[in-house]
């Protein structure tokens, strides 16, 4: 039982995260202040929502690099529309509209993937430049700083605030609730519904899932629309938190998000991955990139550390599964001809 727990990537990432937190906190006590943790939660929110979308795609055996383009498209378009109609209402309507636009763009992905059976990487590469090109060419490419009132107020929508001894007030932003809700929803779908079963099944073996009677195209439509919805939502949160709508933002982060998801134990070959692992992976990357300065490491080394973590984090489980599969059935490694002679 305990051994099984320790064999899981999630446990490994969790322990690494805990160790890292203890280390950083030991070097610099500022790490454990509420202000720092509120910052971490804020930075992890958008990445976390993206990552849960990526997780579902990865489990199904696909890969999506277009979600960042969907996010920025939905966020910017929503802002432009709301600005033009002079919308005075609250942020909720922005989220609804942005998620709806994201869902529709996701449907375009789903159309190409399910109808034509095209490789997901290629479709989403194509739609990434399609969406971004359309956004920048047709809708606009300028940064909007003069936001509609509802969106402008959002960056101060704290759940609660704490004033520390130096008199600095810090707050936990309410956006983190979205991450919690999305995580619970994804966990529910993946663990307790037939839809979740079919996502895991098609990631394990598409053919087996088809023969077992799962409707693969319908599952794919759900997956890519759902990812689109999440991307639209996350994009809007991003815009709200940064108090600006920048059409040239967000795209370029997709590989980082995929890396965090994989670090959390999702298999890029499909069929494996959990919500908890993904959240831990996102937290690990966030803590690392936000806390190097607290540890006295120059920020210029940040990428080196993250790159190393990705390589080590993916190498460890690979080596482990390789070893256990060798133990299970001895694989015959033929000696290359040149060496035989």
């Amino acid at each position: 039982m305990l051994k099984k727990l320790f064999a899981r990537q999630e446990t490994l990432v969790g322990i690494t995260l805990l160790g890292l937190c203890l280390l950083i906190g030991f070097i610099n006590p500022i790490f454990w202040t509420p202000g720092n943790w509120f910052d971490l939660a804020r930075s992890a929110t958008v990445t976390g929502i993206f990552a849960i979308g990526v997780l579902i795609v990865l489990i199904s055996g696909g890969i999506d690099v277009s979600f960042t383009a969907i996010a920025v498209f939905s966020m910017y378009t929503t802002t432009v529309i709301m600005k033009n109609i002079g919308f005075e209402g609250g942020m909720f309507a922005f989220f609804l509209m942005s998620a709806a636009i994201g869902g529709m763009l996701g449907l375009i992905n789903a159309f190409f993937i399910a109808r034509f059976r095209l490789p997901t990487l290629i479709v989403t590469l194509g739609t990434q430049s399609l969406f971004r090109g359309f956004l920048l060419f047709v809708i606009g490419s300028k940064i909007i700083r003069d936001l509609p009132p509802g969106m402008a107020a959002y960056s101060n929508a704290f759940l609660f605030t704490v004033t520390d001894e130096r008199g600095i007030t810090v707050g936990l932003h309410s956006a983190v609730l979205f991450l919690v809700a999305v995580a619970i929803l994804a966990q529910f779908i993946l663990r307790y519904t037939m839809l979740g079963r079919s996502i895991y099944a098609m990631g394990g073996s598409r053919e087996a899932a088809e023969r077992a009677g799962f409707d693969i195209p319908r599952t794919q439509v759900f997956i890519y629309v759902f990812v689109g919805l999440l991307a639209g939502l996350a994009g809007m949160i991003y815009g709200g938190l940064n108090r600006q709508a920048n059409a040239q933002d967000i795209v370029g982060q997709e590989l980082d998000v995929i890396a965090a998801t994989v670090l959390g134990g999702a298999s890029i070959a499909g069929g494996r991955g959990t919500v908890i692992g993904t959240l831990l992976g996102v937290m690990l990357v966030t803590v690392l990139s936000n806390s190097l300065i607290l540890m006295g490491i120059p920020s210029t080394w940040q990428r080196v550390v993250i790159g190393a973590i990705i390589i080590i984090g993916t190498a460890v489980p690979t080596i482990r599964t390789l070893r256990s599969s060798r133990r299970a059935n001895v694989e015959i490694e033929p000696v290359p001809v040149e060496q035989r002679a």
Binding site: R132, L136, R303, T314
Partner: protein, 360 residues
């Protein structure tokens, strides 16, 4: 996966098979060219325009070949641009260190030779590390090179503290001067790279092994191919090509920086895929790369000419590239379905398996 197809006919030589994808690409190329020439007869079909286009695409073309060879083995190399930036920064540093402003000509030549050698060694080492991760640690190539992409970029940032490194105008002749008075040097480099890789892929045992590994790793292993060694070589070649791109970058910009041209990675993948390279490995031809890059360049240049008056016109290129990729892929999928449909049906009859025809 499916039942092995038993065929005792000798396989026809790959070169003579009429390749549907190549044909469609050629048609797309010609069609775009004709349309643009009709729309802008005074500027599009001119020698000047051709030379200007010829100096624009070599970097992405060479990166696409780097990605292509890794894709042929069923892998991918996402670290090409970060490798190029790392190699470029190191080469620029060597130039600054070895060639003072008033250096005699001999010293300049030796210095440049060392700088270029440093770039190539860097590219080879970066590729070697990728190859080790893929072939010996058995990492999924997309993850291994995702990690090294971040790692190499990180090293470049750490070495330069995020600043650009200038190459003192020592290599700018590559970006500005021409061979025989008209042909841009980057284009010449591209043609040479294409020629070399056409030979490697079509005429050497190594090329054949690449295709075999991509088609079926197990079969390749059991036919005596040292898969790990071939993979290692492939990723090293990819790193070397990145170094070539690094030199062209330096020639064009006179400087190297960690965050230069990150979008080239995905653009190079688009070129490779448009060229008909199968991302799962085993098929893809160098002629496809040439046609794909030409088609995309025609689209980009043509769009710039048509839309330069409209604000944001330069972004239409991105849209057009994505649309072109999706259209070609859908066309390929249609012809694939038509080609496979009769065969699949007959196989189903004989084996009475319950396989769904695609698209259902």
């Amino acid at each position: 996966m499916s039942a092995p197809e038993v065929s005792y006919k000798p396989a026809p030589r790959i070169q003579f098979v009429v390749d549907g994808n190549l044909l469609r690409l050629l048609i797309a190329c010609v069609a775009i060219f004709v349309v643009m020439s009709l729309l802008r007869p005074n500027v599009f079909p001119t020698v000047e325009n051709f030379l200007s286009m010829g100096s624009q695409f070599p970097e992405i073309g060479i990166l696409a070949i780097a990605i292509m060879i890794t894709m042929l083995t069923g892998g991918i190399d996402l670290s090409v641009v970060s490798t190029a930036n790392l190699a470029g920064v190191l080469a620029a540093m060597v130039i600054r260190a070895l060639i003072p402003a008033d250096a005699p000509e001999g010293q300049v030549v030796v210095g440049l030779a060392i700088a270029i050698a440093v770039a190539f060694v860097t590219g080879a080492l970066a590729g070697l590390f990728n190859g080790l991760l893929v072939a010996y640690v058995n990492l999924t190539p997309i993850l291994a090179t995702l990690g090294t992409m971040t790692l190499y970029t990180g090293l470049t940032v750490a070495m330069t503290r995020g600043n650009a490194v200038f190459a003192e105008n020592r290599l700018t002749f590559i970006g500005t001067s021409n061979v025989l008075g008209v042909i841009p040097i980057p284009l010449v480099i591209f043609v040479v790279v294409v020629a070399i890789f056409a030979v490697i892929l079509n005429r050497t045992p190594f090329g054949l092994k690449l295709y075999m590994i991509g088609s079926n790793v197990k079969a390749a292993r059991f036919s005596g191919i040292n898969v790990r060694q071939v993979l290692l070589m492939t990723y090293m070649l990819s790193g070397l090509l990145s170094a070539v791109v690094a030199i062209i970058f330096l020639g064009r910009n006179n400087s190297a920086k960690w965050d230069f041209a990150p979008s080239y990675v995905l653009q190079a993948i688009v070129v490779a895929v448009l060229a008909g390279v199968n991302p799962n490995g085993g098929s893809g031809r160098i002629a496809g790369i040439v046609l794909a890059i030409l088609a995309l360049q025609f689209v980009s240049t043509g769009m710039n000419m048509l839309l330069f008056t409209i604000s944001g016109g330069q972004f239409f290129k991105e849209f057009a590239w994505g649309a072109l990729l999706l259209i070609i892929m859908v066309a390929n999928s249609y012809s694939e379905q038509r080609r496979l449909a009769p065969r699949r049906r007959s196989r189903e009859d004989s084996e009475s398996t319950a396989q769904n025809p695609s698209g259902e």
